[in-house]
Symmetry: C2
Subunit: 658 residues, 2 copies
């Protein structure tokens, strides 16, 4: 099967470049705040095909500036060319200055695919890159391949000298206007995730003044639920080309608590909207790729679709190419999640090829990290070099020696050591560094009397301050021993005096830690109060931040902008992950999902049924008034009921009492 | 004065990319045979302007995806914006994916210029790049700024079903067709440097089938003297938009030998045609930038225009950016000329800023060279890594330990040592390596009994073979001591048994060496026979190769192509350099032209007058029946007549007997 080919990484670099440079704010370009790497503009590809019989091939490329040379002789592109039996050396050179060079070759017994090489003029030839989305000669790898369906407004109303359209739920895609009597004129579109935003042209994040020519007019892809068309005299047919990736959403969840079902579905839809060229943060505002947000999306994805391609693309797009001088997204923690995420990806998918593929770029990151590690072995964000110590939108330390960052560094060392071992490479000092760092973190940050790791040790305002963040990480990444775990649960997690988490982002980590220690009631409460709170306010997707104490339009404000908050933020879709892992209870217990446990938890409900994607298969779990039935088509599973461990066999349903 | 600004090097990388990817052959794209580096696609520029009074600025860029932020607030581009007194932090981010990001800012007391910075997100901010050609807001740095004038055919004649147009001399530019009764139709243009080529559609190097719409039709820039329009029914007005750089050609030469005058003028015109984005090899075929050809063009330029910008552009374009894995143009000797040429550029111009500017890229080249230097200290082309040992189109060694390459390496060490000293940097081992290598070359390649350096020491077919090439280099680059020099002149240069040089390329080096040792009669003979031979055949520009023994169309063949030879090749314009240096006799005697000698030589003629550009001034030399008059506007000169040395003073003519 023929595939479009390119220099490995160019496809991801190109689309990441476009994604990074597509942000807008009220008609103005909004530039990325980090370096954006670009793909190649010219490239040479080659293939040595040894044929037994004569064969016809046809070569096409995405630029007229293409040279096809077969056995030293130039040939035209886009024509059938006869190859003779024996060795055929096929060389295609492409200059595509505005995009990146892509080639497609159809033959009878061979075609363009991963076996083709790129000539790097001395730097070491490499196998080309491909993507399963681009396999037809009519495909264009420089256009990201979305699917579309038309959506119509559920209602419209005249407001001032225009019309407000409500599509009933958040959408991503292209606003389409057709005349139903409306004459050509200048119109003004205001996009709103909320009704209030669409009706506030001055404060809405996204708007556009455009010429309606009377012909069908399609605006660029954007997100909204509401659109206000200023100047719309009423004779307009308005619709939306909903733009999405046709990924199979294998995961399922249903129970006898309708609110939880709603939360699962809204989470799913929130995630779908943010799954595009890569996993985005939110669909209205940045549509950028942030490594922390993406890291959480990976886990949601593992419980919802099992899609590998978007994880791989996201990973490559975040990394860019070449030597790094700043952290990914400029954020110290985000660089570390990026490394950790590669091991998690392998753990859940077993895709060793990708780990090998991205290894050179993974290894190179340590140069940057070591540049920021001091003589004690601690990583310190250097604001002078543009580093941002984020952790969370919360009152946590963002300068000095921050505990949460050290725990992530420790996890990154450990993940990289495992990656090296997996690939049969020398793991160097990485595991040793992880072990030493864990010890030092305990020595320097642990306060036995507080039963907690402190936030920071050398930022005077924060010395001996305890937050949930570092302690959640200590639980999550194995820095806390059994004794510490107990103390943390008692003194931090269950201590109402320690400020609560306020972002869905850190709720992911907190609830993951809580569920891990069996505190699923806490999770159930949070589902109902936190996510349920957004449902109550009519959310059709989940938000970047939610404070139940806020009122009305206060919910929409963030970053000093009246409608700055994203109402469709990927990091809010963690219920998918949490319900899959801690209620359906499906959890890998060794790398590459070779073994896994199913530990069902009714959460106090009578009926629950659902599916978790596992490798290329699934695990179905059904709970019904005290019994559980598990069916899977992959090997390696064990149903765990209390202390009882019941082996699972592919294709054979197992029933037990919970 | 406002200038367009960009990331330093982007302008040169962009235009080099286009130049490299512009070659064609009979309607097909002809790909470059080396890596071509690309400019940035997005960039951030900034300036901190401290103002005493309020001031208006206007910022424009070459892309709508531009963000202008002043003191943290976004502003529109292309509008007047008021800055307040005090510190103003101006930040402009541009995404120009198809070209490279360029910005222009007009103010009252300040504007975009070299003082602006590019933000490299952690890699160390750099001053922007500029070019004196792009100083108006209407300029577009992505379009190379040529000048144009219209040229009409001197004759036309009907041939078969078309018309042959003769423009009377070689041209570069755009063929323009306008209807004088000719209806819209498909036409076919065949370009010829010779009449024979234009009339041979199948073998001509350049042709194009195009639609003549009846409207004015302009084809892309190409070179020719003749154009045949197939299908031309006669009702066409044909002209050429001659495309050139408006450089001041300060150099002059006139004498009472009309053939030499013609040779000088044709050399000048040959050079003019090849002086474009960079110094090209030839104007019809490659129009590529070759470091060996360019190296010779630098010397012609120093005696013809004194233009610094084209030398700088050529140097940057040849180098590209980043780590090198192959030699410049893949040729071992060409990498070495590139380094040597930087010192020569400084020697003739005193432009230390550029030497400093290109220093990082110069230094990095040694990594590549050292990769190819063996334990004996000799540089060996590695064909497996794509290296090409060229030396000349002649029967010289192109594998093994080649003497000519070692002499160039020695000269490159020495040039780099001088560059380091000039910039106040540690010269490292470079001078020592040069001295050692010179000794070893003598030990291993010198054959006292032959009075010659041998071509190669370990290529069995060539052991102890003597060619002119290595020996010319030994004279030129100071490897031969006084004794060896004498022996070489006697045993090689004046020895008819040693095969003659056949390319104008190596004639440059040979005649330079011959003139240097006072053999100007040999030069005079070559002028008349070699260059004069081309004039006799009607050349309007000088050729890539000339063999006086060939007949008719044989002169046009090369590289197994009937019209493969370039009839307008920059390396054939060396008479400009040789007449300036050895007849007018103007020669720098210390770096940066701080001192220079004028050593006139009548070449046996009665009347000679000419001008050589020196720094920003000139030296005029007039010889008339045994007297010489020298006038210069720069200091540091000495008129040298035999053993007499007469100091020159700026602005004061000095007369003497020759």
């Amino acid at each position: 099967m023929a595939k479009w080919i390119w220099y490995p990484g160019d496809f991801e670099l190109y689309h990441a470049m476009l994604v990074n440079n597509r942000r807008e704010k009220r008609g103005m370009f909004y530039s990325p705040m980090w370096r954006v790497d670009a793909p190649n503009r010219n490239m040479r590809f080659y293939k040595i095909a040894v044929l037994e019989k004569p064969e016809f091939i046809r070569v096409i490329a995405n630029s007229p500036d293409t040279e096809l040379v077969i056995n030293g002789t130039k040939h035209p592109i886009n024509e059938k060319i006869k190859l003779e039996p024996g060795r055929n050396f096929i060389k295609v050179s492409v200059f595509a200055p505005a995009t990146f060079p892509c080639v497609y070759c159809e033959g009878e017994t061979f075609a363009s695919d991963e076996s083709w090489m790129t000539a790097t003029f001395g730097a070491g030839d490499k196998n080309v890159g491909t993507n399963e989305m681009y396999i037809s000669p009519d495909d264009d790898p420089t256009v990201f391949k979305f699917s579309y369906k038309t959506v119509y407004p559920v209602s419209s109303e005249r407001v001032k000298d225009g019309t407000l359209y409500d599509f009933g739920k958040e959408l991503m895609g292209k606003l389409v206007l057709e005349s139903a009597g409306c004459p050509p004129q200048s119109l003004f579109a205001v996009y709103g995730e909320s009704r209030a935003e669409a009706l506030d042209p001055e404060n809405a994040e996204i708007n556009e003044r455009f010429e309606f020519t009377g012909e069908k007019t399609t605006l660029r892809s954007r997100a909204c639920r509401y659109v206000y068309i200023g100047g719309d005299c009423g004779g307009l047919d308005v619709s939306y080309e909903y733009e999405y990736l046709p990924i199979e959403y294998k995961g399922k969840f249903e129970c006898d608590d309708e609110l939880i079902n709603k939360i699962w579905q809204i989470s799913r839809y929130t995630f779908e909207l943010n799954t595009r060229e890569a996993y985005f943060d939110g669909i209205k505002r940045d549509r950028w790729i942030w490594a922390g947000d993406a890291y959480q999306s990976y886990f949601v994805n593992f419980y919802l679709t099992g899609d590998k391609d978007t994880v791989r693309r996201t990973t490559k797009m975040l990394r860019g190419t070449g030597k790094m001088y700043q952290h990914i997204n400029t954020i110290v923690d985000y660089t570390l999640y990026w490394i950790i995420g590669i091991w998690d990806y392998y753990y859940f998918t077993g895709d060793k090829d990708f780990v090998r593929d991205i290894f050179p770029e993974t290894k190179e990151i340590w140069e940057l990290i070591y540049d920021r590690v001091d003589e004690r072995g601690y990583i310190i964000g250097n604001p002078k070099k543009g580093d941002w110590t984020f952790v969370d939108w919360a009152d946590t330390a963002n300068r000095g020696t921050v505990c949460a960052e050290q725990i992530l560094l420790c996890a990154a060392y450990s993940a990289f050591a495992k990656i090296c071992r997996l690939l049969g490479k020398d793991e160097g000092e990485y595991q040793k560094k992880a072990d030493e760092l864990a010890k030092n973190i305990t020595r320097d940050f642990w306060r036995e009397e507080k039963g907690a790791f402190v936030d920071c040790i050398d930022n005077e305002e924060r010395v001996d301050v305890v937050t949930r963040h570092a302690n959640i990480f200590a639980l999550r990444y194995g820095v806390a021993d059994e004794h510490m775990k107990k103390r943390i649960i008692e003194c931090v997690i269950k201590n109402d005096a320690i400020p609560r988490i306020t972002t869905p982002y850190f709720e992911f980590f907190e609830l993951d830690a809580m569920c891990e220690i069996g505190e699923t009631d806490y999770f159930s409460d949070m589902l109902h109060s936190y996510w349920g709170g957004m449902v109550k306010l009519g959310a059709t997707t989940f938000w970047e931040e939610f404070d139940p104490t806020q009122q009305g339009n206060e919910h929409f404000e963030m970053y000093s902008n009246k409608f700055g908050r994203s109402l469709c933020h990927a990091w809010a879709s963690s219920p998918i992950y949490l319900l899959g892992k801690y209620v359906l209870g499906v959890r890998p217990t060794s790398a590459a999902y070779k073994t896994f446990d199913v530990v069902p938890n009714t959460l106090g409900l009578n009926e629950i049924s659902g599916r978790v994607p596992v490798l290329d298969g699934y695990v179905d779990v059904k709970m019904n008034n005290g019994t559980v039935e598990v069916l899977t088509d992959v090997e390696g599973g064990t149903l765990v009921i209390g202390k009882k461990r019941i082996p699972l066999t592919a294709g054979k349903a197992v029933k037990a009492d919970v």
